[in-house]
């Protein structure tokens, strides 16, 4: 039987505010345990939450970026459950009137094609604390769990997609698109390793052609692009095997274990979750006036999809190049600075994607950490384009700039004497010397069939380039050599 996979994602994005969503405690990462958990975050009696304006603005910016409806009124609700990292006994969230209504996200697949994934809504909520299940115990030897509430109250934007994805690759592309939007907007650092972006995946399978959805399993807390893909691939296979063996998928929560590359059922709870949502009496309805939303709309930066389209249609880059260079704001800004410095988008794209990306990958560096600045690279490309240096020398200049051996391409060219020799007389002198020093090769060349000579000329080109320490203009060397050698035949 042919199976179709149906995937929906719930992405939790930590918003990059300085303070928490309902309190003035800091959200800085990596502080000593519980030093950033104030009375409001701890849920001590008598405290009241006050909503952070920046969290609201960031949520609305995201909504505008995905062309979503922004309702005038949104309401906070309490989601009630007991867990030690949730000291109040409820999470303040938005169930019935979220801040961002239906929108859509464009995803780009590996072949460069695009698809639109609908977003059901996005809502604001607070994060919980962290449980550390290490070796703590009470005086009687009972195992204890340590609770750090620094994260409690950190603002989260939960982005809920429609079940529109049909493969693990589409799900990963969607997650990347969300990552790219939130980092472009600067509303999150998008650091998945530190948990700034986390993802719950809903997966089901159905026979191809069937209208109704199969029973879904929810995979919790998948925290990398690669794991999303692998978790889905494993889960799809598990569900298909289960059904083909006559079994049934049960609706449950599963965990992905990256080390064993499998999903496992979490302990089934004795009863279904009953969160008893109700409007939070401590918070009033949030009303956004049109002028406020319009103001936020005007301050939106150019977004990844628009940038990709401009790179492709306006600058004439390939779909692939446009996609890679617009994937992150840092990459796009670097590329555009190189392009502005050298004035040629295609050359800039080739260098950023070739030499520079290769070097960054080798050293495991991000574009923001590049030792070669965009201005330096742009100047280097300019010197290739105006024939000051040839391609071979350009690589040496790049390496020197990378190693910090020079402030600018011009300084390196000067210091290393890499300026291309285009003076015909100088090149001819070198050629004459090489011919005089290579009687055996000259004899072979002369005795060869004319159609074989093209290949044999390579030896002489190499010798002349060597004599010029790589600085001779290769086209001129080729042409002059051919002329002189053929004159000897």
């Amino acid at each position: 039987m042919q199976w179709e996979t149906v995937i929906g994602l719930e992405v939790h994005v930590q918003l990059a505010t300085r303070s928490k969503i309902f309190s003035g405690a800091s959200t800085a990462f990596g502080a000593e345990p519980n030093t950033q958990a104030c009375a409001v975050d701890l849920g001590l009696p008598g405290v009241l939450p006050v909503l952070n304006e920046q969290a609201v603005a960031m949520a609305v910016q995201f909504g505008l970026a995905i062309h979503a409806e922004i309702p005038e009124v949104s309401v906070f609700d309490r989601k009630n459950y007991f867990y030690p990292d949730l000291p109040k006994g409820y999470q303040t969230s938005q169930m019935y009137h979220p801040i961002v209504g239906p929108g859509e996200v464009e995803i780009t697949l590996e072949d460069g094609s695009t698809r639109t994934i609908r977003v059901h809504h996005a809502h604001l909520e607070e994060d919980a604390g962290k449980s550390l299940h290490e070796s703590f115990s009470d005086g009687m030897g009972h195992a204890m769990t340590g609770i750090d509430l620094n994260r409690a109250g950190t603002p989260l934007l939960e982005i809920v997609s429609e079940p529109d994805m049909r493969s693990a690759k589409e799900a990963a592309a969607y997650l990347k698109a969300i990552h790219s939007i939130v980092t472009y907007l600067g509303i999150s650092d998008g650091n998945m390793a530190e948990g700034s972006m986390r993802c719950d995946v809903n997966v089901s399978v159905r026979p191809r052609g069937q209208e109704t959805f199969g029973t879904r399993a929810e995979i919790k807390n998948v925290n990398s692009f690669r794991f999303v893909e692998r978790a889905i691939e494993f889960e799809v296979e598990r569900q298909i095997e289960l059904i083909e063996d006559g079994g049934e998928v049960v609706q449950e929560t599963r965990l992905y274990d990256p080390e064993r590359d499998e999903t496992r059922s979490m302990r089934t709870k004795e009863e279904a979750n009953d969160y008893r949502y109700f409007p939070c009496p401590d918070l009033l309805p949030v009303v956004l006036d049109g002028a406020y939303v319009d103001h936020l709309r005007e301050t939106l930066p150019e977004l990844p999809a628009d940038k990709r389209a401009r790179f492709q249609d306006g600058l004439g880059l390939s779909a692939y190049d446009a996609g890679v260079l617009s994937a992150s704001r840092e990459m796009a800004e670097y590329f555009e600075a190189v392009k502005d410095a050298c004035g040629d988008a295609k050359q800039a794209a080739n260098w950023v994607q070739g030499e520079l990306s290769g070097a960054l990958n080798r050293e495991g560096l991000a574009i923001g950490d590049s030792p070669v600045s965009a201005r330096q690279l742009g100047e280097l490309i300019t010197r290739v384009m105006d024939d000051t240096i040839n391609g071979k020398a350009a690589k040496q200049v790049f390496q020197a700039l990378w190693n910090g051996q020079g402030e600018s391409a011009d300084a390196v060219i000067e210091a290393k004497g890499l300026k291309q020799v285009t003076d015909t007389a100088a090149i001819e002198a070198m050629i004459d010397q090489v011919i005089a020093d290579s009687p055996a090769q000259v004899a072979q060349y002369r005795d060869a069939e004319p159609d074989k000579r093209g290949k044999m000329i390579g030896y002489f080109v190499g010798q002349v380039m060597k004599a010029s320490r790589g600085t001779a203009n290769p086209q001129q060397v080729n042409a002059l050599l051919k002329e002189k050698l053929d004159a000897l035949c």
Partner: protein
């Protein structure tokens, strides 16, 4: 809507309240009267009336995104039954 004894016990369990049978019976009657009131409200014609999210007819004030709280961990942890390395300790929640 009639409230069963089991409904009261379930609501109590969700709220992590331990009720004796006598208390449960008491709440069954009490909550039952509240639900009768809700039934009367449900019977009203609310066509065209916007649902009310909060009894106060005003909207949420927002605060500027500034860090205004300082570290008071030591004070807060004085009332905690068990702390270690700055963490609050609770009975183990996973196997």
């Amino acid at each position: 809507m009639a409230l069963e004894h089991a409904d009261v016990l379930r609501a109590a369990h969700l709220a992590r309240l331990g009720l004796t049978d006598d208390e449960a019976a008491h709440y069954q009657a009490d909550l039952g009267r509240i639900l009768e009131m809700v039934d009367r409200l449900q019977a009203l014609d609310t066509e065209g009336v916007a649902p009310l999210a909060h009894p106060l007819d005003t909207t949420q004030r927002l605060r500027a995104d500034e860090v205004t709280e300082s570290d008071q961990r030591d004070r807060f942890q004085r009332s905690a039954p068990a702390v270690e390395q700055g963490l609050y300790l609770v009975p183990r929640v996973v196997e």
